[in-house]
Symmetry: C2
Subunit: 241 residues, 2 copies
């Protein structure tokens, strides 16, 4: 701990980090939740919550560092996509004290993926998104945070390549389109979709085909797997006069 001058001697809020980790699997958008511990003194025992925990001032270099650590702890994968969602802080969200959480937003491809509950959670599980939330009551203000995360995800998917982060490393254009449609909840037009994705140079073909009971499909991979692509237009802009 560093030296403190006298005037810093006032109450400070609790500081935590929470993660909204999304994936697409079994034709649904899913979010990763963990079960709150039931030890005495723990708030919201037994309820499901976004994975997260306290910032460890002595070990975390910075907030994003802390978020990445928790992401790996929970999923075992280093997500390609992690962005800050926002912070929620007020006097009542945690019954223990004035608290602030820094919510992060992550997209992962659900490939091997062995879920680990980790220190502060009894169990971890994928919950399908229904409407703007999940079919279970969430701890803290996590329903609100999840709602904001979904809003952000859906609005960004309209003009970015975000779904490409929720798909296996090699994928067909139809599979990518399907990921878009699941997140957006509406069908997209095939030929326009392909033209756009190829024109954006978002993907490049690999020398492999996906076999099936029909014509095999060209497999692609992301050209730049780090940063998303921003399109100049949204999909299907409603021409509502």
């Amino acid at each position: 701990m560093k030296k403190k001058t006298k005037d810093l001697d006032f109450p400070r809020p609790l500081t935590t980090v929470d993660l909204a980790i999304f994936t697409v699997a079994e034709d649904a958008l899913k979010v990763l939740l963990v079960e709150r511990p039931t030890e005495p003194g723990e708030p919201f025992p037994g309820l499901w919550a976004l994975p997260g925990g306290f910032v460890d001032v002595d070990h975390d270099m910075d907030l994003e560092d802390c978020a990445r650590r928790k992401l790996v702890e929970k999923t075992g994968v280093a997500s390609l996509y992690l962005e800050q969602l926002g912070s929620w802080g007020n006097a009542t969200r945690d019954p223990r004290d004035w608290s602030v959480t820094h919510a992060y937003f992550s997209l992962i491809a659900r490939e091997p993926l062995k879920l680990r509950a980790g220190a502060n959670a009894a169990d971890a599980r994928w919950f399908p998104i229904v409407g703007n939330t999940v079919r279970t009551r969430l701890a803290f203000d996590h329903a609100e945070i999840l709602g904001t995360a979904l809003q952000r995800l859906r609005s960004k998917v309209e003009y970015t390549s975000l779904p490409a982060f929720m798909v296996p490393k090699e994928f067909t254009l139809t599979e990518l389109q399907h990921a878009y449609e699941i997140v957006l909840g509406r069908p997209l037009e095939k030929s326009a979709f392909r033209t756009r994705v190829l024109a954006a140079k978002l993907v490049e073909p690999v020398n492999k085909l996906r076999q099936g009971p029909n014509r095999p499909a060209q497999l692609f991979r992301l050209k730049n797997s780090r940063t998303p692509v921003y399109f100049a237009r949204t999909f299907n802009p409603r021409y509502d006069k």
Copy 2:
């Protein structure tokens, strides 16, 4: 203060709120800065900084509340546009301790506007944006925060009505276009601009004209002065093959 259970007894970061307040004036985009106090123990004495300060756990209901309070303290205006920009937290940004700031992003029209320095600042002043920053060294990591704010502003201006919040209550379409051009740093095509703004039902005419040494211009006001409009396309998408 609420009761604390024993396991909450670990070091907590300092928690602050900072504001990037922008306006358009004298053909330039400007940001509001305050001068750091020079009392002993204060970090970065005499340097310019984004206005902000510690979260007051006993008086602030929540973070946004705290941001609004500081905004009014500094500018005397309740901005129509305030959004969260993000949070910056690490061990080194404040020499006093591990600290987290919650940065907010605000747009105001520079009408009457009497700047007030307020408690923790010797002086407050508008600085023109040059490139991605201002022509003075900033305290803390505020140069980075300002850079992120500018990035967010410029990218959002491509597909939203944000500049409408930096223009007086009544304005001509040319004035609005001018605000766009100042933020974006490039000229827009007049006829396309007008068609888009009118088609979006963003503005409505008031029964007044702006007089000048030429043909007078129709004055408009925002139709919904609370929420910005999102366009389905960006301005001038670069057709770079």
